[in-house]
Symmetry: C2
Subunit: 411 residues, 2 copies
Amino acid sequence: MARLVMKFGGTSVANIERIKNVARHVQREVEAGQDVAVVVSAMSGKTNELVAWCKEGAALYDAREYDAVVASGEQVTSGLLAIVLQDMGIKARSWQGWQIPIRTSDAHGSARIEAIDPAALNEGFARGEVAVIAGFQGVHAATGRLTTLGRGGSDTSAVAIAAAIGADRCDIYTDVDGVYTTDPRIVPKARRLDRVAFEEMLEMASLGAKVLQVRSVEVAMVHKVKTFVRSSFDDPADPKPGTLICDEEDIVEQQVVTGIAYSKDEAQITLRDVADKPGVAAAIFVPLAESNINVDMIIQVVSDDAKTTDLTFTVPTADYERARKILENAKADIGYEGIHGATDVVKVSAIGIGMRSHAGVAARAFKALSDKGINIRAITTSEIKFSVLIGAEYTELAVRTLHTLYGLDKA
Amino acid sequence: MARLVMKFGGTSVANIERIKNVARHVQREVEAGQDVAVVVSAMSGKTNELVAWCKEGAALYDAREYDAVVASGEQVTSGLLAIVLQDMGIKARSWQGWQIPIRTSDAHGSARIEAIDPAALNEGFARGEVAVIAGFQGVHAATGRLTTLGRGGSDTSAVAIAAAIGADRCDIYTDVDGVYTTDPRIVPKARRLDRVAFEEMLEMASLGAKVLQVRSVEVAMVHKVKTFVRSSFDDPADPKPGTLICDEEDIVEQQVVTGIAYSKDEAQITLRDVADKPGVAAAIFVPLAESNINVDMIIQVVSDDAKTTDLTFTVPTADYERARKILENAKADIGYEGIHGATDVVKVSAIGIGMRSHAGVAARAFKALSDKGINIRAITTSEIKFSVLIGAEYTELAVRTLHTLYGLDKA
């Protein structure tokens, strides 16, 4: 029998009326004669409420207790959807992460799934039951304590469960009808993509497109889970297929650039007149790494006399103040003249597996942005994407410019 | 080392500010050098919200799924209190029912505690940790599914945990400062009792005084758990002792009547001209019992010709319509002339272990009520209490009359 995992996010289960709509989507798939596992998020707003209580309880809260608190949101939805499905005459039962169990690491608040035992779910399928599974949560086997997978973790729950039960497909239902070439709120000409390669989706998610949790795409890629992104607000009787995330071999017409992403979660730090000597990079970046601050883009401009250099790099906005403090404390060690920073910057990225075989893709962008008077502060490139750091006020202009440049505008 | 269980109800943990106040009560007891287990309810209003969602999901919801949904309320509070305690420098961790485990029957929605393994809690005490336990919930071992103990179940969790860990005392913190001779909202002269016997408390709880869940008093009585009812709104630095529920031998000055309770959850049904023949009682009460309808008070008035009888009895208000329908369907079987009913009735009860050794206690009440023009529709008595069924409009008058009659008014 075919097997399907369906995942519904917070806005799709925001109240009982919407949960009943979700149940109609499930009914359609059950009536098609498949084993169905449904993974649900917390009702929208609930996780925020729970997180706010933890923070109000203590600024530095115990992540294990945080997990016990926030995992409750998905527990509620799983029971409610099971109740609604049963009322429609569909056999169903709820499963908490610890009941299956979904075993995770003990990195509370951002745990990684280590193993999912499919035995209990398989027995349920044999009884003709829909498995309604609380997403986002698991259990650390050695301590028996509840864990959560971090924001967006239900996506990863769904894909990992699909891999564990050998599902033919994993449908991620959300409040948009697929993956777009860029954010449609900024570019009205953005197009929905029929297919995106795993590698591209991974970059898009990492670079600011918030359709899927990054980790879920990694899991889908490793386990080759055919994953669709589609809308829960479609008519359950006549749903659209959405966007398929798949192997690049399954994409017939490959574009050079598939999508444009942007992220405002970047802050820029520049160290002026750093002594250009061996070991200076270590003096700067080791203390940041030790404080778990991720450094992203790095550029170095050697001065005319070649004795000093200006060094610019970016860190997540949330870590900006902490990073500056660390560098100020290490001033004597590093040896620099001045420190400057900016948080009003944005990283705009173009992604496409076609870049591998096409030279000069990024160069065209630099010229197009320069023609619009946009100053590029930093650049990073990889095999299938490049990113530029620019002033935040140019976000929309830059995204639209690149979207048009690479032929992504709607016909 | 002395051991203490502290239980806090929904109004005591209604928000973070109140949870911080609860933590100060816990701190006081920890600093007194005791092992402390804290049992918490859901934040007030949360259980109602969760129950309403279940009902909105389906009128006839699966009790197993209901339990998965509503058990989440206590989970949240347990984690939040652990966070707040840790922030005050007190070692603490949360425990869900299934983690300890608290094993229960599979009567979902009103499960009974069958066994509590104290091993994990004892290890926590050895590490110097306060155990913050989610009340109201447990797990059915064979199925691994979450269970709940019914409304007020956290009281029973607390007392059962006290018995399991051999606690010296169980303090039930609530929004009143103890057990009163009657409802102070009706009788301003009501007095707080220093001590109440287990048997009396059991009757009071059964008969409408809502301070403690009936089952918790049973467990306390069987396991001889010294239980205090006290207020969480007292100054944590200077709390009052509240009311001790204890063995009757520990009560020095026994009153004839200790308290007056009333319950509006009663409805009256009268069958007129029932044939006075063998088997008629069975024809009436067996079908009601089979539908899980509890019949409480029963009186029978034989008619002048002694061939027929009028039969009056009470059922819970929630079962009134159902009971009438069952009796109407069984009319031919039973053989009666007419059926009459009333829901505007109240049961007023007087409770006191002193009744065992004093004759005529109830008779004085009948006369006093009659003197006030109150018609008694039915009477039941037992060793340590009697109850009268009267018109609901006389509730306050009857309660005040009996409170004064038995010398319970404040000095």
